[in-house]
């Protein structure tokens, strides 16, 4: 075998790289920066700053509704947002109403709320309440604009919501400071189309990176107060509330893997053209 042939074989091997090698590479690039806790600089984007500033400016004891519209499939991206935003709300003595449009996501929202409430010594029914889940998407969003009790006469424990001090005089969106929608799918559009346009609700959206680009047009149209997109959005919010969590820890692995993906795209293209050129030369001979 000549040197030329050996080179061609190497290029061809590189061009048809076993995907399992790429998987191992990506896993290593995710793991190492996390284990070594490598720092990563995060710059705050205007859409996240707007969300933070809005909650920061709400008067004390205002009510913020959190809608849990995600489940375990997007937990790594959205749960850090939920934790950071709930921390922010409780640290400012705001009250929280938790509800959700995705049944199997409710325990995640409940977990985040109980965890942050314990940190700030907040009491159930006084500082926060969990209304639970009701099916119906658009119908639920529209009905809550009229009266919460039409759908949620009782909280998720089965206790009438009128038994809780924080729900006295709270009837609909008009009594809320804003609604934070943590979603991984199309419910965001429902909130915009029915809660924001119909009832003028101030909306902050926290969504997956896949969904985020779709909502920038709503942000530009001022239908949203703020937007948190993916883990980066969570990392930015964690930076603003000075509570480092998974979002910030994930930024170094994200950067490393992104660089590797760029390198692999480049490598794939270069080897593809080199192999093609070599084949052409062989044909000409």
């Amino acid at each position: 075998m000549t040197e030329k042939e050996r080179g061609a074989t190497f290029l061809e091997k590189l061009n048809n790289l076993d995907r399992r090698i790429i998987f191992v590479l990506v896993f290593c690039l995710v793991s190492l920066p996390m284990i070594l806790k490598l720092p990563s600089q995060v710059t705050i984007s205007p859409e996240v700053k707007k969300a933070y500033d809005y909650i920061e400016a709400l008067p004390e004891h205002s009510i913020v509704m959190f809608s849990v519209d995600y489940d375990a499939t997007s937990m790594p991206e959205i749960q850090p947002m939920a934790l950071a935003m709930m921390r922010h709300a409780f640290s400012r003595n705001l009250k929280i109403i938790l509800t959700g449009q995705i049944a199997i996501g409710m325990p995640l929202g409940t977990q985040a709320m109980e965890e942050t409430a314990a940190v700030y010594g907040k009491k159930y029914g006084v500082d926060y309440i969990n209304l639970g889940y009701r099916p119906g998407y658009q119908a639920v969003i529209v009905a809550m604009g009229r009266e919460f009790r039409d759908l949620f006469a009782n909280d998720y424990r089965g206790t009438p919501i009128d038994n809780y001090p924080m729900m006295k005089g709270v009837h609909n969106y008009g009594n809320l400071g804003c609604v934070v929608v943590l979603a991984h799918g199309g419910t965001v559009e429902n909130w915009i189309q029915y809660a924001q346009s119909r009832f003028g609700v101030k909306l902050i959206i926290g969504t997956t990176a896949v969904g985020a680009p779709d909502y920038y047009s709503y942000l530009q149209a001022e239908q949203l107060v703020g937007l948190l997109g993916g883990m980066r959005g969570a990392a930015e919010y964690e930076t603003l509330v000075k509570a480092p969590g998974l979002g910030l820890l994930a930024m170094a692995p994200q950067s490393w893997v992104h660089m590797a993906i760029l390198g692999l795209i480049l490598l794939g293209n270069v080897t593809f053209f080199l192999v093609k050129r070599k084949a052409k030369k062989v044909e000409q001979k």
Binding site: I35, G132, R198
Partner: protein, 206 residues
């Protein structure tokens, strides 16, 4: 003691299932299938229990028990519609489910039309009517017009329309690129989430 044991057991079980799902990256195997079916089954079971206790019980059973007169008997309508929906499982009377489906379709269409007009079309059109006093506004207006022209198929894309459509496709490609970049970030985030769980909750090394 029991809570601590259950927590530890839960973490080990979750770690096993995480590794089982990841084993698919090497090749399809029995352990992966087990984890996949378990996920589907548990999700369905969890959803069923949640709907029964957070929907059917409070909105049908409790409301029936706690109300009298018209408020109670109004519940008959959703109960009947719900039962009609279940007739899909009996082929001989499955046509009855169309009544319930028509009802939900009607509501969805009614809400959808109003939502789309007042929640999307009008605000988005308004947000595009911008003064041409800065480069951002100019780019937005050019982008909207050119992209709309690109999706206008009633006239052949030649001349001015062809040129405008070409600019439109550039905007569309940029949008695809941004979406793809975000998608990469999203998928890596999921891996980071699982890796964090393995290293933090399971192995305790971070």
């Amino acid at each position: 003691m029991i809570i601590s044991f259950l927590h530890t057991f839960g973490v080990w079980l979750a770690a096993f299932l995480t590794l089982a799902i990841m084993s698919f990256l090497y090749k399809d195997n029995v352990v992966y299938k087990l984890a996949e079916y378990l996920y589907v089954g548990v999700s369905a079971g969890f959803w069923l229990i949640y709907v029964l206790f957070f929907d059917v019980k409070p909105m049908i059973v409790d409301t029936w028990m706690n109300n009298t007169g018209i408020d109670r008997y109004m519940l008959i309508i959703p109960i009947v519609l719900g039962i009609l929906m279940l007739t899909r499982m009996v082929p001989s009377i499955s046509y009855l489910s169309r009544i319930a489906i028509a009802f939900t379709m009607g509501i969805s269409a009614g809400l959808g039309v109003m939502g789309a007009i007042y929640g999307m079309i009008l605000p988005q059109v308004k947000a595009t009517m911008l003064p041409l006093n800065n480069i951002d506004n100019l780019l937005i207006i050019i982008g909207v017009i050119c992209t709309i022209v690109y999706f206008y198929f009633s006239k052949e894309h030649k001349g001015i329309i062809g040129g405008t459509a070409k600019i439109g496709i550039v905007y569309v490609m940029i949008a695809f690129g941004a979406a793809f970049g975000y998608t990469v970030m999203a998928r890596i985030s999921l891996l980071i989430g699982r890796a964090y769980f393995l290293f933090h909750d399971w192995l305790g090394i971070i």
